[in-house]
Symmetry: C2
Subunit: 540 residues, 2 copies
């Protein structure tokens, strides 16, 4: 029996997918929707494809504003359903928060002037979303539809470094390998628990069999000496001298528990628990991403599909709806003059933070809802290096290193093109007040800070530096934030309002979903909003 | 300070590499070798490139027998050093134990008849080595030299299944996700230890600070309730209902400790501790492999480099050396007639197990040494499926599932071409007596057994089955074993004899290295033997 499969029956993708196709074929217009609604609150979970809609939009005019992770699938589905779709995008590219930086990429944060990337051919780095959890089937659906190949993304590389400073003990301000910390902490934890079990020192009553199973498990998992249940050094933690043609090598000694405890405790708390979070469902292996950059799906595949329906460099300033239609005003990229276009409906993928800057005649409840969602601050920096010293010198192939330097956060390594000449590291990733502080600096000063702090882990940084490109998402004019920071309470109060159309205007984006700060949330929101709009049109 | 770097100073790759180049340039013929020898037993460790040899072989004739992971780099280096190299290979391909199976691949095990693979275009699977640890720099050197691109190989995918039968408790004969087992066992372990620490129930005296650090670490690592130090359910273990547009989802309940203990204990011991071993230095993330199959380096890149120096389908039957030369007799592939060729030296990459079948006038100590190394039995099976049900239904992108079914062992999933149509799973991997038993069956019966056992984890197997290809390495005529099974004692006694030339014959292969059962051991052995041969030629 498959216990997980059982508990996930309602969301089992193949079952649901097949069932939806079946009912979609058998029922009339918008038939699937009714089935979904009848299933209640969890209707959308586990969907791996958009609902199979019936009926045709027959040229009903929809203006899609914004080509982020929500706008793109919404426009794609509406086009396929026969709507007359016009797509308006403020930036010079498709993707919104999805932004792959390459040589030639440029941007201008509020008050910071223009920043242009000068990395060599073949370098790329995702300033926004950079990884996809294994269960984000809506994202995968479009990769399949549009032939976007995927590669692995690694959050966890046990050969990455962990570095902690301002901690007690001998490991202060040192870097050790993550596999050393993991092996030693797992070993000591196993030893102390196994010895306590052995002495029946615990309150909890366990049967003889339970005790034996647990001790046996800890011996194998923590690598304990089976006789006295002490942690022994093993090839889990690595070698002082590697095995070779002459000798079987010398295994490293464990770090003393007292030196390791303050170090490991600090690392586990650092950067909002970033290391501990690599074990969460969302961040577990396997994560994937499009080969060559996240924009392969957006600025390449969706962009090609949209063709001349798409208007780039066209920031929207006003949305005005009447009972009969809705008019969108944007600034024309060539003339700098305002342009008005009128349609039947608007699908609006502007983040709530930036939507506040647009004049829209929403009802009061919607205005209040939009105002009530604060957005997070986050700064990410890609640093181009002449040489892959992390591979050549440190034998780190992808993944991350973790520090307790709050302005630096984590370091990330490219997960492809191993052994090639040079590449881009995620050289800084910080949040909240640290992001506020660092983002206040000019681009160059941010880079110097990243090099100075990062050199504590990789002293080669300064010698191999080409240039950096940093993105403070809260200072990006059309983002004004990294992601919406809902509380459980605000989520409950605000999200139902955001999810319903305000007259002829439908919002779309991950801010309409509980899969927050993920592209998948935006895909699910797109399917939900297209479903609502299409049902309305079919019934009118 | 970098403690690991410090302890590995002698092996630090860049330092060593640069030093070797430096001394190689400054010293005369075979100068580097003397430096290496002066460094003693650990001379080769951490080498990321072959030593920079001086001097030229000037057409000295070397016959390389066997194109395994040792023969290929040996031949490559000798050719580059100006030797007149002839390469004799028994099989119809380059690679030896490195064998990538595709549609059209065929083989004949002892007494089993011919087996031919009929998988569709684009399917591939490595019957032999399938993964490379991050520190195998010799292997990487040739990938760099010959432009072989690498992708990730995953031993550990937390969304893989674990399945155990014949265990006590409610989880008997069920499959659960590895992340569920990991989260729950880590949680309970943390809870029991944290509570014991809290009550000062341990013998060992720990300071207040130590106790607080450890409890804090366990709270974050095991996801404990900070108030009462009990394990609480979290998104580390997964969802019963996934988060979606309507709800934040429902987190699964932990399995009861008493049901989990016998299950987890059994899984940790299964298949020789295969799951526990994913934490060893050799098997940790990141592992890599050539894109499209291991033969990209051997049967493609090395083969092209060797050109017409290479004679395939030419099994060697006899090696006869005199004080002046050495004559190799092989069977010509077209005429089936014996052919003799004579050279100055032989570099022999035949596994010891198969070398016993060749008539060679070795000295007695070498004969005894060769006879004294038993080889392991192992059987691996690739199964081609019409549909990637492990991705579509189970959301498993690469990695492995672990079972305690000893005839089945582990299951492995392709680490690339995600979302494509169909692919090849590692459908069976067993060792020792299990390999002996299963390998005694005809090819078809092995496949039926694998489907029958594997269906306990993947019931879709039988519906999606195309065909299987199994390789019992101990029954492969030119391998006769999976890898040499040294003991620490036999390693000490036998390896020094194997490493020295017997007259004009030099052995090469991973059986000359402590990096056993890895291609890297064969590369290091090749560099050592080329070094010895070249020094001899330069001094003569």
């Amino acid at each position: 029996m498959d216990k997980t499969a059982k508990s996930l029956t309602k969301g089992s993708p193949m079952t649901r997918r097949r069932f939806l196709h079946l009912t979609g074929a058998a029922l009339g217009s918008a038939g699937v929707l009714n089935v979904l609604n009848a299933w209640g609150q969890n209707a959308m979970d586990g969907l791996t494809e958009p609902p199979k809609w019936d009926g045709n939009g027959n040229g009903t005019k929809v203006i899609v504003i914004g080509t982020g992770a929500g706008g793109c699938p919404a426009a794609y589905e509406l086009i396929n359903l026969g709507y007359d779709v016009t797509i308006i995008e403020a930036r010079d590219r498709v993707g919104g928060h999805v932004w792959t930086i390459r040589g030639g990429s440029s941007g201008e944060e509020y008050g910071k002037g223009v920043q242009t990337c000068d990395w060599p051919e073949g370098f790329w780095w995702d300033a926004g979303p950079s990884r996809v959890p294994f269960y984000h089937n809506g994202f995968f659906h479009y990769c399949r539809e549009l032939n976007v190949p995927l590669i692995d993304h690694k959050n966890l590389n046990l050969n990455g470094w962990v570095y902690a400073e301002n901690v007690d003990g001998e490991l202060n301000a040192t870097k050790i390998r993550l596999h050393e910390m993991q092996a030693d902490m797992g070993g000591y934890t196993s030893q102390y628990l196994a010895q306590a079990l052995d002495q029946n020192a615990l309150d909890e009553p366990l049967s003889e069999e339970d005790l034996e199973h647990w001790k046996s498990y800890l011996i194998n998992w923590g690598i304990l000496n089976a006789n006295d249940l002490t942690y022994r050094k093993s090839d889990h933690r690595g070698f002082a001298v590697l095995p070779d043609v002459h000798s079987p090598g010398t295994i490293n000694d464990p770090y003393p528990l007292r030196d390791l405890l303050p170090f490991a405790d600090s690392i586990m708390q650092a950067a909002g628990g970033y290391l501990a979070a690599t074990a969460t469902f969302d961040w577990q292996t396997t994560m994937v991403k499009p080969k060559g950059g996240m924009d392969a799906l957006y600025d390449v595949a969706f962009r090609e599909f949209f063709g001349d329906r798409l208007h780039l460099n066209s920031p929207v300033t006003k949305i005005n709806q009447t009972p009969d239609d809705v008019t969108v005003t944007y600034t024309d990229s060539e003339t700098s003059e305002p342009v008005e276009i009128t349609g039947d409906y608007v699908m609006c993928n502007i983040p709530l933070s930036a939507l506040l800057k647009v004049s829209v005649n929403f009802d009061e409840p919607m205005k209040t809802a939009i105002r009530s969602v604060p957005y997070a601050m986050a700064l990410r920096m890609g640093i181009g290096f002449k040489r892959r010293f992390w591979e050549e010198d440190d034998w780190i192939y992808g993944g991350q290193s973790f520090t307790n330097i709050s302005q630096l956060g984590i370091l990330g390594y490219p997960d492809d093109n191993y052994l090639s000449e040079g590449g881009v590291m995620l050289g800084m990733y910080n949040f909240g007040t640290n992001a506020a502080y660092v983002s206040s600096m000019p681009y160059d000063a941010r880079a110097q800070l990243a090099l100075s702090l990062g050199s504590k882990v990789h002293p080669q940084m300064k010698d191999e530096f080409i240039s950096a490109f940093s993105v403070a998402w809260h200072l990006e004019p059309y983002s004004l934030g990294a992601w919406p920071s809902f509380t459980a309470e605000s989520r409950e109060q605000v999200m139902p309002i955001l999810q319903e159309p305000d007259g002829r205007i439908y919002l779309v984006g991950e801010h309409l979903s509980n899969v927050n700060a993920w592209m998948e949330g935006a895909v699910q929101a797109a399917w939900m909003q297209v479903d609502k709009l299409h049902t309305r049109v079919m019934q009118s």
